[in-house]
Amino acid sequence: MNSENILELDKTAKIYRRSHLGKTKETRGALDITFSIQKGEVFGLLGLNGAGKTTIIKLVLGLIFPTSGRIQVMGKSPEDPLNKKQIGYLPEVPYFYKFLTAREVLSFYGRISGLPSHALPNRIEDALRIVRMQDHSNRPMREYSKGMLQRIGLAQAILHDPPLMLFDEPVTGLDPMGLKEMRDLLVSLNKNGKTIFFSSHSISEAEKVCHRVGIMVKGRLEKIVSKNEWEGQTGSLEKIFVDTITSKGGISVG
């Protein structure tokens, strides 16, 4: 593994097999995925619904296991639980324990992430301040709106100050102000040395923050585009995206 690469996938595939009444049905989640992300990079993964973006993220997190190929996160297998100290994950829809308050949830996650007890209260305060949720932190999570849950989702992802951030569709469902805040946060995190890997439908947001973008079509990573390929030309990433999708049979544009 290249020491500069924080994440490496080499010919990784994920085939879902479902057996029913003696018949096995196979569904391709991802096939022949090879790419790497360098330290300090912002890498976006674009694709239509069902393209395999979440599959890739789950493979990197060790929530699912590859059918073949190799994945290395900072030189270790995703199945190594201790390596997850280095990862901050924000799911598309963060699900929390409704009976706990935000502070209790962050305290719980902080302890599991190995944060020392003397440092934990300050880290929780910092995280709540960054996501602007200090005033609501003592209410039970069942009283939170979608936007508030998203903020706490962010808080738990940054709580233990991991070098690699994995965000699954972080801008989905956000209003314009929310979009700007998320974008500013991504930029800020990257400026502080974080490597960011996120999946999204939003080409415009990817254009604004990413150094590179991967385009997935039907489980395959068809193209990786660098910033210098779309920079300076408005709408060019969209054009590249659409061209890739249509050429690979992802969609027909009339």
Binding site: L63, P81, L82, K84, Y89, Y95, Y97, I112, S113, G114
Partner: protein, 255 residues
């Protein structure tokens, strides 16, 4: 270790903030109080009936909590997807499973303790003379509950539905008390295959009679300390077997 303790802590809070948990405890207390009615018609045996019936009710309600708690413990977390933010942290799956198991056991023990204290108060009101039997029975009941909780946890990961998990667990609880009879039938059987099959099956089902001191304390036998040593060894080994089996399934489970 710290992560296991954190999981135990939050599992206990989760269980105790569950309305169903409170309802089961209240219902258990009511049933213990109802034992007074049986005692009233038992003549000289009033105290014995209240003692034995109260202990039995405590164990049965512990069983109900264990079965429903263990079956939904991880399944619910998977369905609600709250498990994602746990397994994407530096938390080995084994720590998560063990923490959830012990957290649930702790919540069941506390509820049995409530019922036990209430039961003691009733007994003293009825003029019971303090005897060690009550206090000795409790640890044995806890051993049984531990075994059935571990089994229920395994079934919840093995089976695709919570209903079938509950059915299997209850079946193993019942068969666990029927081991002596099954062994007797196997020995009496003239069919070698069915006898062998029964004996092989006995290998798998938990032997509850090793931990059933509550039922047999008047029987002649070794001192309760010796019985507890054997019972706790058995419970420890059987729980480990169930937990390793659950871990084997959980470690390869995909989300």
């Amino acid at each position: 270790m710290a992560s296991v303790l954190s999981i135990i802590h939050y599992t206990f809070i989760q269980q105790s903030r569950n309305h169903l948990y409170m309802v089961v405890i209240l219902f258990g207390l009511t049933m213990i109080a109802a034992s007074l009615l049986f005692g009233a018609v038992a003549g000289d045996q009033e105290i014995e009936v209240i003692l034995d019936l109260g202990l039995a009710v405590t164990e049965l309600f512990g069983l109900i909590m264990a079965i429903f708690g263990a079956v939904t413990l991880i399944l619910e977390e998977i369905e609600s997807k709250t498990i994602y933010l746990l397994l994407t942290r530096p938390l080995p799956r084994s720590h998560y499973l063990i923490g959830r198991f012990f957290g649930l056991l702790l919540s069941i023990f506390v509820s049995m303790l409530f019922m036990g204290v209430f039961h003691l108060i009733l007994l003293f009101v009825k003029g019971w003379t303090l005897s060690a039997t009550f206090f000795v029975s409790f640890p044995f009941m806890i051993l049984k509950i531990s075994v059935i909780t571990a089994l229920a946890l395994f079934f919840s990961l093995f089976s695709t539905s919570s209903v079938s998990s509950i059915v299997f667990t209850v079946l193993f609880w019942l068969l666990g008390h029927f081991g002596t009879e099954l062994s007797f039938l196997a020995n009496k059987s003239k069919n070698a295959i069915s006898a062998l099959g029964t004996k092989a099956f006995l290998f798998l089902i938990p032997d509850m009679s090793v931990m059933n001191y509550r039922d047999v304390f008047t029987l002649a036998g070794p001192h309760w300390t010796q019985q507890f040593l054997w019972g706790s060894s058995y419970a420890f080994l059987y729980c480990l077997a169930c937990l390793f089996l659950a871990l084997a399934l959980f470690s390869r489970k995909e989300f």
